[in-house]
Amino acid sequence: MEQVTEELSDTDVKLKRRKRIIWIIERFIWIVVGVFIIFGIIFVPGFKNWLNFRNILLHSSILGVLAIGESLCLLTGNFDLSIGSILAFAGILGALIAKWKIPSLITIIIMLFIGLGAGFLNGILIRKIKLNAFVATLITMLAWRGTAMGIVGGRTIWDLPEGLRLLGSGTIKGFPIQILIMLSLFVFFHIALTQTKFGRHIYIVGDNEVAAYNSGINTDKVIIIVFTISGTLSAFAGLLMIGRLNAASPTYGSDILFDAMSAAIIGGISLHGGIGNLLMALGGVILLSIISNMLNLYGVSPYWATTVRALLLLIAVLLDTIKRRLVRYE
């Protein structure tokens, strides 16, 4: 009888230790963020400054909004390549409409609807026309970018109306609205993901689509909605961008896709779907922003920046693999 109790406490200890390791790994991104912050405070001149921390958050705001949408797509086991193009297209259309003296509020609503429509189109292409996510969003990525280019002939639209720029460049008591919006969106979607039935379905579809279908979940609906959200958020990011730059160009958002995916994956969201949460993605976004901020403050050769980012991505992918193994099996 004594043997039995000893065995139990052994497994207990093992379980507790594994739980602790998992806890650390799931929050690993924040540990990395912490390390970089300490490094920055000590070695990088100008880093240790409240205004600079505000700047880091400004670096994160647009990327953060995009990372939310991209993370949701990743969680379902898909990905969205068109986020940058929808950002640009919505921005261009918004700027044009505003220049035609349409009131800003209506312009903003139109922009969001454009994103909603573009996202919905992605969802339909993937689920009803059965293209895979890569092909579908690659096509729409090229299409929206090309259309934006064609409409304005490569020109930049500058000097935009006050109302349109409010969310992107406005401040409340000195604090930039875009940061507040980005953080609020993270909180909102995090709660939606972890506390609602729909959020739970997103995870299940990403983890095992067949099981989800067999248990009665409408998998098409889940994925179409997720892409619609991603499209809408991309358009919203476009609004923030033209707001903070006071100009719209069809080239905006050309390189941001890589950063959005990197942020999500470095944060801990799995490429295979079903694993991760938005707080991880936020961690990834903040990390990338800290790095770009440090590179602006410190005199590092620009070539190293890309190398550093690549290394971090590699580390993150490795961590992701280790974590998945640990979490599933003994």
Partner: protein
């Protein structure tokens, strides 16, 4: 084997291969060439590679097949274009480039802006502005927003600037790469200006950075001080597009180096024609080409292993001459239909 022109009786036909026509810069360059042809009664066929090196090669093959008398291209990829140059040579069609040079193969003439000189002039302009601020002393802190440091355009625009400014030991330059991305430029100004509130001037490699620069200054300082106001940060750069000219007029930026985008075509077309008619002796000789009254001259002519290179000057524009109607930024692009081949 030389292909005879299909239009031998009607005059010359030149082929123009654009790397892309999605930005006003390239559109103006193409217009300049087209107008140059029109003025001499030469027919011009334009192709659009839509930002794809492979496509540009195929476009040029198409032009060769159509039997054009000469080809003028803006290379999308200065190395990959070498194949097209070779193909044209084998077909007996002389190859020219404008706006950018080639890194492989030998063309007859390349006409482009002297990026190094443009950067040097911008440097001089900023030095003068700083001297104005500091009662004759050439001192201050300048933030340079570079393009993509891997490209030679950005390297030249950096080097020309640094070589001028480094002669003044009390001027400090902070250089950061913006990779031709407006938002990156915004972030650079945000970060550097916060850490260095004493920045006196900003030098940018391309007009696309302007909106980000202005908004970032607003974000950091709270307001934006225009030209002439106390606390104004001098802003000078390179390009000359309509947006930049507008900002100069409104007093947001101090000056811009105007690239002679329309001049390339206007300059080179007569030389192409002369070359076809008279051969090598019609080509410009290494040295200087002087043209009275034109701010884009004297142009420097250099013989290089990749062909003859003509570097035209850029023209500093500030509030005094911003309304000059010959500036490409002041000429509206007519929406005519170009004869393009796919």
């Amino acid at each position: 084997m030389a292909l005879t022109s299909v239009y031998a009786d009607e005059g010359f036909v030149f082929g123009y291969s654009a790397p892309g026509l999605g930005d006003e810069g390239q559109m103006n360059i193409q217009k300049g060439f087209e107008i140059g042809c029109r003025d001499l009664g030469i027919k011009c066929i334009t192709t659009n590679a839509q930002m794809n090196a492979e496509k540009q090669l195929r476009d040029i093959e198409t032009l060769i097949a159509r039997g054009v008398d000469a080809i003028c291209a803006v290379p999308y990829d200065s190395k990959a274009i070498g194949q097209a140059v070779k193909a044209a040579m084998e077909a007996g069609i002389p190859f020219f480039t404008i706006d950018r040079g080639v890194l492989e193969g030998k063309v007859v003439i390349t006409v482009m802006a002297d990026n190094y000189d443009a950067a040097a002039q911008a440097g001089m302009a900023l030095v003068r502005l700083l001297q104005g601020k500091y009662h004759g002393l050439a001192k201050g802190k300048i933030l340079e927003i570079m393009g993509n440091p891997a490209q030679d355009v950005a390297q030249l625009r950096h080097q020309g600037f640094i070589d001028v400014v480094s002669q003044y030991p009390d001027i400090e330059v902070i250089s950061k790469p913006g990779y031709w991305n407006t938002d990156e430029g915004y972030k650079i100004v945000l970060d550097v200006l916060t850490a260095n509130p004493d920045i006196d001037a900003i030098y940018f490699h391309a007009d696309l950075y302007i909106p980000g620069i202005i908004e970032a200054i607003k974000a950091v300082k709270g307001t934006f001080k225009k030209v002439g106001e106390e606390g104004h940060i001098f802003i000078v750069g390179i390009d000359g597009n309509p947006m930049a000219l507008d900002y100069i007029r409104k007093g947001f930026i101090d000056g811009d180096m105007i690239q002679p985008l329309r001049e390339y075509g206007k300059f080179i077309v007569p030389y192409i024609k002369a070359y076809l008619e008279k051969g090598k002796e019609a080509l410009p000789k290494p040295g200087l080409i002087v043209k009275e009254g034109s701010p884009y001259f004297p142009a420097v002519v250099v013989d290089t292993p990749h062909g003859l290179v003509v570097k035209m000057k850029t023209y500093y524009v500030d509030k005094h001459n911003v309304d000059d109607p010959t500036l490409w930024g002041n000429i509206p692009l007519e929406k005519e239909k170009l004869e393009t081949t796919k």
